[in-house]
Subunit: 572 residues, 2 copies
């Protein structure tokens, strides 16, 4: 017997209930395993995933969507430096918009719980092909295989299901009908009212190059669940993960009798970007953007009359005032700075260390000793090819390497700045051609904002000699207000200082991780528990995920009429 | 013993709980009586209210707020045509913004439940002075005393408490803290997380001239409850109600030890409007606007980087396809058209009647007979001074009378248009000088959009000879999509037609009232039950009230740190 959408909704209801409980308690939960270890997965799954990925190479990516005018693709692996050779259907934007508009009424009329369940099903199916996805993400972004498997797989799908939880909460908050009774003078007025949830229109999801799925899934699911068709615009150098995702969504929709054109892919090239065609179209009512502060800021300053959700980037700081275990803190900072070669929106860049040293149980630890400990921890990662490969992966774009090299040159000419560690490559054990770069580390005096006062997208750490911890907090929050910040970090032993810092970072609208060391990456953000991006500083206006991320994606339209006599009786 | 904010929060908790139950069930509920009948109110309350209002006249309105540079006031009563003689403190916008910014941190640090309770207390105190408020609203807007008492009093306060209910729901949805535990490899990571609700910034509330309190209270309370200071910018011809409201809010805040500058009044004149000074200030993060489509549209097209909530106006239609009781329907249409001389955002303007007549139990009723019935029902109201005064009140601005007179002249020159009823004044029993105007009624052929294809702010009804009911629905929804619509009305006996109409109006994002006759005004919108404005057409982008009206007014900032050992034990 074929599973109907209603049966699917019943099947996934417990999953959504669990997700709602998770976001309300903010406790750890996930329906997925985020380790690629073979013992968590079906026999043969890793091999099948690799084979599926390999079968994608050097051919057209089959996607039967409307308005195809040609085939394009310009992805190059940062590991092999060779083109993937995959071409994707390029559709006329007008055709994609028309197809989405045509699909909208049927989707809008679908019960919300079924739409939510369809999205949950998409997530589960994407989890089922996660080994393939991991290879795809790895080869277009440069993420390590492990990180691509977890961060761009289950962790990203969790963000999507988290958005579903909020969509369910927001939509369930609207009763579909009511009986309203009130006396007007001598007359007893009894009305039957109906409240319909109506989608806003077509939703555009613009994905970033380095971590495409993580922001895309919540945006796609939030819009789809609330009834809005979605057009996915991947970055032209990182199409494959989103093509796989769009294909899975389309197949899921079709399998349950829905119009697959509810999810389409808008591929473009760097030379001929196509996003504006969608952004400016009146039928596009929702835009989710992840990417550069330049384009994101332009959208934030120009888009009106549409919902706009952005995540761009920030200037993430570590204030290192004290440590119970300095070696553990140095390791945590080094790991966070090395992870994916600092190409994450949560990667720290500016490390404030009091010029007079940090507090430790063994007494003050000098600035240079702290710096040496951090560099030693970086070297420990960088000098072991297997750990370097697993943590740093590859650098997606040569431009990032150029940025870091230019910073090194500028640091060499700046009085007071000291290059403590050069940004040398490491030899990837599997991919000798991989574009790799281990972190540049520069010690700078406070005030050298010409070097560290902006975000540099690439592996670089500035160790800033702050007057003291208070000055460090002050400057980190000042720069965060000005340039944005997504993740901030504090290491301190003084409880009063920690309290003051928590207030100061909150006052600047900056999330703060305090004294995180050990097995968990300090810059790991857990779906269902960690709110990602506050919306209070220039790093973005949207949060993954809160009610505000979904509540505006649908509207309510009502009608009311005199209740029939039987309604009177029923309600009595 | 002085009541503390915490005690206040405990005292008002049941009120908020009831309000939340009301918005969730959408059943009738109100903590207030909306009739001015003496039996519902304390002895002497009506007289005290009148005396309080009279004592306001011809003097300065005492409001001890920052930056006062002068005293201005240009209100004229539409009933007496004489200036009220009240002058209000004009404050330097920069001083109001600075004062609000200075008040923000203390308010942001106040527990949300206390902020909500403070707003509830403001509402209750405003209810306690509602007789005074009714006179104030009446004399600046032209509303009848009864309507000013109910519509601008309890009904408006209910809208405010409704917004508080949503603010409570949205803020309570964020747990203040969590304990998060997860295995990473062999390590059991246990984190303590804190989630703070952080206001966006200063909120500006721009009020309309004709019904200032109704939209202002929900906007003010939604922003205040979520931690944002509020600057109220009343329309210069209708300041007094908002001055009374702001004074009450300030007194409430001060009584409980809070900074009264959390609520201030920004008075201006028509000659020198001041709204832009606030709109363009970076410290202003939220704008609630009620007023003209021209200014509202300008804001919708230009404001970026801030939350903007608008309600402007629409082209409200009645589709009259059939009636069980044609006289009752004619009365309902006439009453809705006469209420406050059609100066309400819910007033109908375009009445579609099939040229071939409407369906009734006695067979088809001809277009001209339907028209005659509506006009007879209008005359019944207009010709009895007491009912005219109670229903129509006065016309606030001479411009509205000019609009209607110009329409009459144009209709006289348009082939096929017939002026069926001239817009004559009625003699107000208490105010011989009152600016009154009973509705102009013009019969027009379908397609005469040069006359009826835009909103005319004044008492005018177009009876449009539609080809049939389907054509009427089609045109009403087409014009609604183009010009916006806030309330739409259908009278029909054919259930299949009603279903089709419900779908068509929902498809156009238009709320629909079906077959409403009798004691309740067809254009009465009930707080806690009727969603007001869909946000899906040009009549406004915000809804009173839903989660989206409040969910974005605050943001979430978190911190996380290793849990202390005792936290492990507690949670086990």
């Amino acid at each position: 017997m074929t599973e109907t959408p209603a049966m699917l909704a019943a099947r996934h209801a417990p999953l959504i209930a669990d997700a709602i409980a998770a976001v309300e308690t903010r406790r750890h939960w996930s329906p997925f395993r985020d380790s690629p270890s073979a013992r968590f997965h079906a026999p043969g799954a890793p091999e099948a995933g690799r084979a599926a990925f390999n079968a994608r190479l050097d051919r057209r990516f089959a996607l039967d969507q409307p308005g195809i005018t040609g085939w394009i693709g310009e992805e190059v692996s940062p590991y092999t430096r060779r083109p993937l050779g995959i071409s994707y259907p390029q559709s006329d934007p007008a055709a994609l918009i028309a197809a989405a508009a045509a699909a909208l009424p049927g989707w809008a009329a679908t019960p919300p719980e079924q739409r939510i369940a369809l999205c949950a099903e998409m997530a589960l199916r994407l989890y089922a092909v996660n080994f393939e996805m991991a290879h795809a993400v790895m080869q277009v972004t440069g993420q390590s295989f492990t990180q691509a498997f977890s961060g761009s797989g289950p962790n990203a799908l969790d963000r999507g299901i988290e958005a579903l939880a909020y969509a369910a909460k927001a939509m369930r908050d609207v009763t579909p009908e009511a009986r309203w009774q009130r006396q007007f003078g001598a007359e007893d007025v009894v009305l039957a009212k109906q409240y319909r949830l109506v989608p806003r229109g077509i939703a555009l999801v613009i994905c970033c190059a380095s971590f495409p799925t993580w922001n895309a899934y919540p945006a796609m699911f939030a819009s789809l669940a609330t009834g809005n068709p979605v057009i996915v615009k991947p970055h032209p150098i990182a199409v494959l993960p989103m093509a796989i995702a769009v294909a899975a969504c389309r197949r899921t929709l079709a399998d349950y009798g829905f119009d697959p054109d509810l999810v389409t892919l808008a591929v473009d090239t760097r030379a001929e970007p196509v996003a504006r065609r969608f952004i400016d179209d009146p039928a596009v009512a929702i835009i989710d953007f992840t990417g550069s502060p330049a384009f994101g800021g332009e959208l934030e300053r120009s888009v009106t009359g549409k919902l706009l959700f952005t995540e761009t980037a920030g200037l993430n700081a570590v204030v290192l005032a004290g440590a119970e275990d300095p070696a553990a803190v140095a390791r945590a900072v080094a790991r966070a700075a090395c992870l994916y070669s600092a190409q994450m929106c949560t990667s720290p860049q500016n490390i404030y260390i009091p010029a007079g040293g940090i507090q430790t149980p063994a007494g003050p630890m000098r600035f240079d000793d702290v710096a040496a400990a951090i560099i030693a921890a970086i070297d420990e990662i960088a000098d072991a090819p297997a750990s370097a490969a697993g943590i740093m992966g590859a650098v997606q774009a040569e431009a990032s390497c150029d940025i870091v090299r230019a910073l090194e040159a500028r640091a060499g000419q700046m009085p007071g700045a000291r290059v403590l560690r050069r940004p040398r490559p490491y030899a990837h054990p599997d991919y000798p051609e991989a574009r790799t770069m281990t972190p540049l580390v520069v010690a700078v005096p406070a005030g050298a904002e010409a070097l560290y006062g902006a975000e540099h997208f690439g592996p670089v750490l500035f160790l800033i000699a702050a007057d003291d911890a208070e000055a460090a907090i002050d400057e980190a929050t000042t720069l965060g207000r000005r340039h944005g910040a997504i993740s901030s970090y504090l290491y301190a032993t003084d409880p009063a200082l920690i309290d003051r810092a928590a207030d100061a970072f909150a006052g600047a609208g900056m999330n703060l991780s305090i004294n995180l060391t050990g097995a968990m990456w300090a810059n790991f953000a857990a779906a269902y528990s960690d709110y990602h991006v506050t919306g209070l500083n220039p790093a973005g206006n949207a949060c993954l995920a809160d009610l505000a991320f979904v509540a505006g994606r649908f509207r309510i339209v009502q009608n009311r009429r005199p209740a029939l006599p039987q309604d009177h009786a029923h309600a009595a």
